[in-house]
């Protein structure tokens, strides 16, 4: 989260226009810098996971629409266990000095802004009575993203792996993903078993998408929980467990069934990957995903799919030391997320629509221990939401991005809550330019503007003070302007 300085009202307008000026000029500069004829065939390509590029010698654009997003060829490669299935996939065929590792980080300049933040009436309460007021915070400057240090590939023919230590921008590390997969069991692409911590089989991946800013760099719906809920589940977060998955030869048909610990991918029996997370319970969740693709002739490649996540989370803990030390999660209560998604092409235009419905048990949704009774007005909360994302590929090196998201809380956790409490509206626009086409590494210049309105809650982006606004009806506008140099080696 960023620390902001409050801004005086007479500076707000000036600041807003200054930020927009920077973004506009940078975007224009990018456009003009790449103003070469698209008819030419520059032979420089960027690799998304250069470790694979170094192994197979394919350009990044073979596997990615625009890295890191996969196209169907990349999806097939991934589904086959990072194998091209040309009898040269086992590491024994590689030069012994080859090591399948890549890193990615994004030096950037960005500006974050959030209004309706609870701040002191006077900075530092200098010589004035101190009371809380709603104010706007913004901050800008040069910055670093987190870093991924990704190793992936095959241990042997039909045994693949990923090890992904990932840090935040202060170099605090965790294992974002770590798994081993046994591929093509019994010689069939329909039987693959993966074990470890991995991304759910999302048709629209948040791990391989094209937005990087605080507000745009996440799908709101993948992390949304109704205000007041103790549920920490995020569909976009990597989970830990075992997965059975399969696909047709060209991955047009895909399925997966995963059994996962009910702990949000936490390690060491905790309920999250962050340090200090409470202990987990002893139960399991299930994720189901299915998708089918179609060859739409000249339009391109179209995929539709559905998913369902059925899980549970504890509502109280076994304790020690007089109830102060939580030991094991107990009193599990269920929740589920179901949805449909698609990846549609109309020539160079890619559309990514997703709809999700979420439902939490009333105990979970109101953060109430199931040892007792529900408070008055408590009810099982639910929400509906989704997004439509669009990519327009000017060519493999230039892509224009846009996304609109909307989440409505269908039923509040408490009947007394305002009807729109927790609703989210977000939109993002961006542009990525891959200036060089080189077969050993990748670089992308990324410009974005993202804006999110969340009613009565903390923005998912982390912008602002980290505290909810003064009133549950306050709409918090959080915005990001981002310009980064995304590189991958």
């Amino acid at each position: 989260m960023f620390v902001f300085r409050p801004e005086s009202s007479d500076q707000k307008k000036k600041s807003r226009w200054s930020g927009l000026l920077v973004f506009g000029v940078v975007a224009l500069a990018i456009l003009f810098a790449d103003a070469k004829p698209t008819q030419a065939l520059p032979n420089r390509k960027v690799m998304a996971i250069p470790a694979f590029a170094r192994k197979y010698g394919l350009p990044c654009s073979a596997c990615h629409t625009a890295w890191p997003e996969l196209n169907n060829f990349g999806q097939v490669f991934r589904d086959n266990g990072y194998q091209l299935m040309n009898d040269r996939d086992s590491p024994i065929w590689q030069n012994p000095s080859y090591f399948p590792i890549t890193f990615r980080i994004t030096p950037n300049w960005h500006r974050e802004s959030a209004d309706h933040q609870v701040i002191d009436s006077s900075p530092g309460c200098f010589n004035t009575p101190c009371f809380s007021v709603a104010g706007k915070l913004n901050q800008s400057g040069f910055d670093l993203s987190g870093m991924d240090l990704w190793s992936a590939g095959t241990l042997y023919k039909n045994i693949s792996f990923v090890l992904l230590p990932s840090s935040d921008s202060t170099a605090v590390w965790h294992f974002e993903a770590a798994w081993v997969r046994f591929d093509n069991l019994k010689g069939s692409p329909w039987l693959n078993v993966r074990f470890g911590r991995f991304e759910l089989d999302n048709l629209i991946s948040e791990k391989r998408f094209l937005f990087l800013s605080n507000n745009g760099g996440l799908y709101q719906i993948y992390h949304f929980n109704v205000p007041g809920s103790s549920n920490n589940f995020g569909y976009g977060d990597n989970q830990i467990g075992v997965e059975l998955a399969g696909h047709s030869e060209n991955s047009y048909t895909r399925y997966s069934v995963a059994v996962l610990s009910s702990n949000e991918g936490g390690v060491n029996f905790t309920t999250d990957v962050v340090p200090g997370a409470p202990p987990s319970n002893r139960s399991y969740d299930v994720n189901l995903a299915f998708s089918q693709a179609f060859d739409a002739k000249s339009l391109g490649f179209e995929r539709i799919g559905a998913f369902a996540y059925i899980g549970q989370r504890p509502t109280f803990f076994e304790t020690a030391d007089g109830g102060t030390v939580p030991l094991v999660g107990l009193g599990n209560k269920p929740f589920y997320r179901v949805g449909v998604a698609a990846d549609l092409y109309i020539h160079n235009l890619e559309l990514l629509p997703l709809f999700m419905h979420g439902h939490d048990n009333a105990f979970l949704g109101t953060s109430t221990s199931s040892q007792g009774l529900l408070p008055a007005g408590a009810q099982a909360p639910s929400f509906n939401g989704g997004f439509l994302e669009a990519h327009y590929y000017l060519n493999p090196q230039n892509v224009i991005l846009g996304r609109f998201e909307k989440i409505n809380v269908g039923q509040q956790a408490f009947s007394s809550n305002p009807g729109n409490f927790g609703n989210v509206t977000a939109y993002s626009v961006g542009y990525r330019w891959y200036p060089i086409m080189f077969s050993r590494a990748g670089i992308a210049l990324d410009g974005e503007y993202s804006r999110t309105k969340s009613i009565g809650i903390i923005p998912e982006s982390g912008d602002g003070t980290g505290a909810p606004p003064l009133f549950p009806t306050d709409g918090v506008w959080s915005s990001s302007i981002f310009f980064g140099i995304d590189f991958d080696f």
């Binding site: 801004e7 500076q11 000036k14 600041s15 200054s18 930020g19 000026l21 920077v22 000029v25 940078v26 500069a29 990018i30 810098a33 790449d34 070469k36 008819q39 030419a40 065939l41 520059p42 032979n43 420089r44 390509k45 197979y56 010698g57 394919l58 350009p59 654009s61 073979a62 196209n71 169907n72 060829f73 999806q75 490669f77 091209l84 299935m85 040309n86 009898d87 040269r88 300049w109 500006r111 913004n138 901050q139 800008s140 030869e249 060209n250 060859d295 739409a296 002739k297 000249s298 391109g300 490649f301 060519n395 493999p396 200036p435 060089i436 086409m437 080189f438 077969s439 210049l445 310009f483």
Partner: protein
């Protein structure tokens, strides 16, 4: 909050940085881009026809840039930036010499042949299966590939080889195929056991003088030009152009060719085949009567 001056500084700095970066990057790109005719390579057929599909070179050009350019190069000559690391080398489309054809040696392949090659990929090489692309995309790529050589505007594809019905798999057929393997000196390149280690193997080069290795039957489950018995038949009846593997179309009769197919299947020891099963049973009882394949063997081999 940022001041107007600071914003202007950022903006100007960004422009300066981008200008500095973009200049050399574009220059580099131009160095590696061979010539302006790249966009409109040798004018030939701008279409391909595969079944009911019509491929268009203009669409294929975009796909080529996305998928193929790294190996086959911006000039289509097999000199892409990755080519130096690849063995065997990528195909040089400017020569219009293709390994996998259903047409006689020396002639152009059919559009379907090229489509099949793209779809199937080339096992044990860096050329993957492009089955994940749509059929239309593959057809478009075929159309574009044909624009790299003037041969496509001057010549027609050769006549498609007619593959007769396969003869029954019998021990006699396999034995006769084994005789042909000896007689036609297949073993000189492919080795007596089909391991690709014949006495000539180390000396083989392709039409661009790049070293190449004969196919090793003992480890492969597929062939570069297919995996069915019909594919094997086609491979040695049409030859593998651009390599030392000749066409045997004018050398052996169809029935003999099928016998050779049946014997070659027995060399694929890692692949369960009916030919292999039959042969192993025969060898168990008559193995001592078989003469070894190689320079010291009589033409009859048995």
């Amino acid at each position: 909050m940022i001041s107007g001056k600071f914003a202007a500084t950022i903006a100007l700095g960004s422009i300066a940085l981008l200008t500095l970066c973009a200049g050399p990057l574009r220059a580099q790109s131009h160095v590696d881009t061979p010539d302006p005719s790249l966009g409109t390579p040798s004018v030939a057929s701008e279409e391909s026809h595969i079944g009911g599909l019509t491929g268009h070179a203009a669409s294929g050009k975009v796909l080529y840039r996305r998928y193929c350019i790294g190996c086959h190069g911006p000039a289509g000559d097999g000199e892409g930036m990755n080519a130096q690391w690849i063995d065997p080398k990528p195909r040089d489309f400017t020569q219009a010499i293709f390994k996998c054809r259903s047409t006689p040696t020396g002639t152009l392949p059919t559009d379907q042949d090229l489509y099949n090659a793209i779809t199937r990929g080339f096992v044990t090489t860096n050329m993957p299966q492009w089955r994940p692309l749509t059929q239309q995309q593959r057809a478009d790529l075929v159309a574009f590939i044909k624009t790299w050589s003037p041969r496509w505007s001057k010549e027609k594809s050769g006549d498609v080889l007619v593959i007769p019905a396969e003869t029954p798999v019998t021990i006699e057929s396999i034995l006769h195929g084994r005789e042909l393997f000896q007689k036609l000196e297949c073993w000189k390149c492919h080795g007596p056991a089909g391991h690709g280690d014949g006495p000539s193997a180390a000396t083989l080069t392709d039409s661009k003088d790049n070293p190449i290795r004969p196919y090793n039957f003992s480890v492969g489950t597929r062939f570069k030009c297919g995996e069915t018995n019909q594919d094997i038949y086609k491979i040695f009846m049409t030859g593998v152009d651009g390599t030392p593997m000749p066409s045997f179309h004018d050398v052996i009769q169809p029935n003999d060719a099928w016998d050779l197919v049946h014997f070659l299947r027995t060399l694929q020891v890692t692949l369960p085949t009916k030919e292999g099963d039959l042969w192993r049973g025969y060898v168990a009882t008559h193995g001592k009567d078989l003469k070894p394949i190689g320079p010291d063997s009589a033409a009859g081999a048995q």
